[in-house]
């Protein structure tokens, strides 16, 4: 039994056999060869290197001819890496000395060079890591190691381990085959975490190096509540987790009985409880758990889960499916909220030194109106099927909000002229997720129909923490008093102007923090579908007075740790059933 700690990003526990994926979705098992076969294995490597060298040479010639010598020289550099004497010596040592297979030796050695380059903190050199991995992939293809995709051959549902999983790779995981996952990199609040929650897959990220300890096929546990991964658990641990799974199922069954009861405090104050979704298929879970609406419909999956750019029709179909299924309940559609670095379909920005502060989200949409217009048209068209509201992410200046609203008007006029069915009077709101939006909220509020506080980004931009950077991820705390003060200010301004405000970040899905938000005056929460009943349970267990007391006390604290400890303490008094055991 071996145990590793990481960051829990998607709750729940998964128990099953391990499968290891690497960045490309293939796995190179750690295999050894018999001493007698070492020479043959080395010959296999030499042949593969020669074959890849021939390909690179051909690529270099044809690329130089078409695009000039400077582009062709990329392959010249790859050739030089392939023939690097140190590399050759290391590969040989792994095969003849440690009796590794050529496949495993290649994957180990190339990965260690790639990660050494990435660690350098020099963007120019970090990109060379891609060249190294490219060579690795070609060698592995020559060795016949990567035609095999491990997920395709799984016979029973398994737990996936990987160095890294991108949001699109996570979205592509087949839920009938993968019951949970854990990765070496990543932090809380990244898109991978959001997608994992959407799929209700227990997940732990940011564990650090552990994949070399995994024996494929052995039983493992991913504890997405506590951020623990256990390899080859002993019987006592296994029993404990299985009992926990059973208790969890019983609690969920009890909580599900709350689905049809109103979301209100014990003294009858209604708290609108909506759901955040990423995929249309999540609507079913929202409805069965009694969501009042969709408080946040993220549209990034349309861009992340396909090779080509989504068309207006693709948008329209995805939105219509959700709007129809919600049968008149409000659906807030948020426009594209991605960075230029995630937009694979077209090069939108040259290398950005700091993508979090770069061309992303509404900035990207406003600069690429041919990308933005189809999305806006689709939202207005889908609005005829129900109660659709439009929301812009990452609004930082009034100019951006005005420009975006103007574009909606232009698109609406176009649609009317074309005689296309649409609604042009839908409510328009903005995310409050940049400190500048809070500071200027008294101005913004005159020009929007509703507000939604996105705590994930608000935390990131207030505390200057990149939430996916494992080195500083511990500084990312949504209970930080600075964040709470910004939220309180936003609530006060929204109340004074009678503009509805909801909180849709991850903060609201934590029952204890949800009570704090209610105490701060928030009356609308939007949470992932699987948190709906849990948060409703918390709401129904307290009075508004109790929530206000919590908020008053919390606002005297100076650190996130104090806040969270106090909140857990209060929750265990008010709704003990919700305390994870």
């Amino acid at each position: 039994m071996e145990q590793f700690h990481g960051i829990p990003v998607s709750p729940g526990v998964a128990i099953g056999p391990a499968v290891v994926l690497d960045d490309q979705g293939y796995s190179i098992p750690r295999c050894h060869v018999a001493l007698a076969d070492v020479a043959a294995e080395h010959d296999r490597l030499v042949a593969a290197v020669a074959a890849v060298a021939r390909t690179l040479e051909t690529n270099r010639e044809s690329t130089s001819r078409r695009l000039g010598d400077s582009t062709g020289s990329i392959f010249a550099a790859q050739l030089q890496m392939l023939h690097d004497p140190r590399l050759t010596a290391e590969l040989q040592r792994k095969i003849t000395g440690s009796q590794h297979t050529a496949d495993y030796a290649v994957s180990q050695v190339m990965h260690s060079y790639a990660s050494a380059l990435r660690r350098l903190n020099n963007p120019l050199l970090a990109e060379r890591a891609q060249d190294v991995l490219d060579i690795e992939k070609q060698l592995l293809q020559q060795l016949g190691a990567v035609t095999h995709r491990p997920l395709d051959s799984l016979v029973e549902p398994s737990v996936a381990f990987s160095h890294n999983l991108t949001p699109s790779e996570t979205a592509g995981l087949d839920r009938t085959k993968v019951i949970g996952f854990a990765t070496e990199t990543g932090g809380p609040g990244g898109h991978t975490a959001i997608v994992a929650k959407g799929l209700e897959l227990p997940a732990v990220v940011g564990i650090g190096p552990f994949l070399d300890r995994v024996v494929v096929g052995t039983r493992v546990i991913v504890d997405g509540d506590r951020g623990i991964v256990i390899l080859d658990p002993d019987q006592a641990t296994l029993d404990e987790y299985e009992r926990g799974l059973l208790r969890r199922r019983e609690l969920l069954a009890r909580l599900d009985q709350l689905a049809d009861l109103p979301s209100q405090t014990a003294d009858g104050v209604a708290i609108e409880l909506s759901a955040n979704i990423e995929f249309p298929h999540e609507v079913a879970a929202c409805l069965s758990r009694g969501a009042d609406g969709i408080g946040l419909y993220r549209t990034e999956f349309l861009y992340l889960s396909r090779e080509d750019e989504p068309t207006e029709q693709d948008h329209y179909e995805a939105y219509s499916e959700v709007v129809r299924a919600m049968q008149g309940r409000p659906v807030i559609i948020r426009t594209l909220d991605l960075g230029a670095d995630k937009m694979g379909h077209r090069p939108l920005a040259e290398y950005e030194h700091n993508p979090c502060l770069g061309l992303r989200s509404i900035r990207l949409s406003l600069k690429n109106q041919d990308l933005f217009r189809p999305q806006l048209r689709a939202v207005l068209r889908a609005a005829i099927h129900g109660d659709v509201r439009l929301m812009f992410p990452m609004i930082t200046t009034l100019g951006e909000l005005r420009q975006a609203r103007m574009l909606v008007n232009v698109v609406a006029e176009d649609l009317e002229e074309e005689g296309v069915g649409c609604r042009t009077d839908i409510p328009i709101g903005m995310m409050v997720e940049v400190p500048s939006a809070v500071l200027m909220l008294d101005r913004f509020i005159r020009e929007v129909d509703f507000l939604s506080v996105g705590t994930n980004d608000l935390v990131q931009y207030t505390l200057a923490v990149d939430r996916s950077n494992e080195y500083v991820a511990d500084l990312y705390q949504s209970s930080d008093p600075a964040v709470l003060r910004l939220i309180l200010r936003a609530v006060e301004i929204a109340d004074a102007h009678h503009v509805p405000l909801s909180v849709c970040g991850e903060m609201s899905s934590n029952p204890a923090r949800a009570l704090l938000l209610i105490g701060l005056g928030v009356r609308r929460l939007s949470v992932p579908p699987q948190a709906l009943t849990k948060v409703k349970k918390a709401i129904r267990s307290v009075t508004i007075g109790q929530c206000r007391e919590i908020a008053e006390r919390v606002m005297t604290f100076e650190a996130a740790g104090e806040v969270d400890m106090y909140l857990m303490d209060r929750l265990s008094d008010l709704a003990p059933e919700l305390i994870p055991t």
Partner: protein, 98 residues
């Protein structure tokens, strides 16, 4: 026959540091000699005949490196490689006209 390694300190002068192109020049130059030529930086040693090992030094502009050469033609090797550094791998002109 010189059995003791020759040593020199060199400075990375070209603005973009030891990236792919200078590393490529360095490897080609070092490979002309039999001598073992190494570049050292804060305890990390890189073999000048290995492009991967040079790249992983991550030496940016202004970095001081410790150059050593050992072998029959060490003197020629160290002189010609130091010259590459002194000329900023012939990348300085473009930067200065900026």
């Amino acid at each position: 026959m010189n059995s003791r390694p020759l040593q020199r300190t060199v400075v990375v002068r070209n603005p973009q540091g030891l990236h792919l192109r200078p590393a490529d020049l360095l490897v080609k130059q070092a490979s002309r000699y039999d001598a073992e030529v190494m570049l050292g930086r804060e305890g990390q040693m890189a073999d000048c005949k290995s492009i991967l090992s040079i790249l992983t030094l991550g030496a940016s502009q202004g970095t001081e490196l410790h150059l050593t050469a050992e072998g029959a033609d060490a003197a020629e090797a160290i002189a010609s490689i130091a010259e590459l550094f002194d000329h900023g791998f012939y990348e300085l002109e473009g930067a200065e006209s900026e």
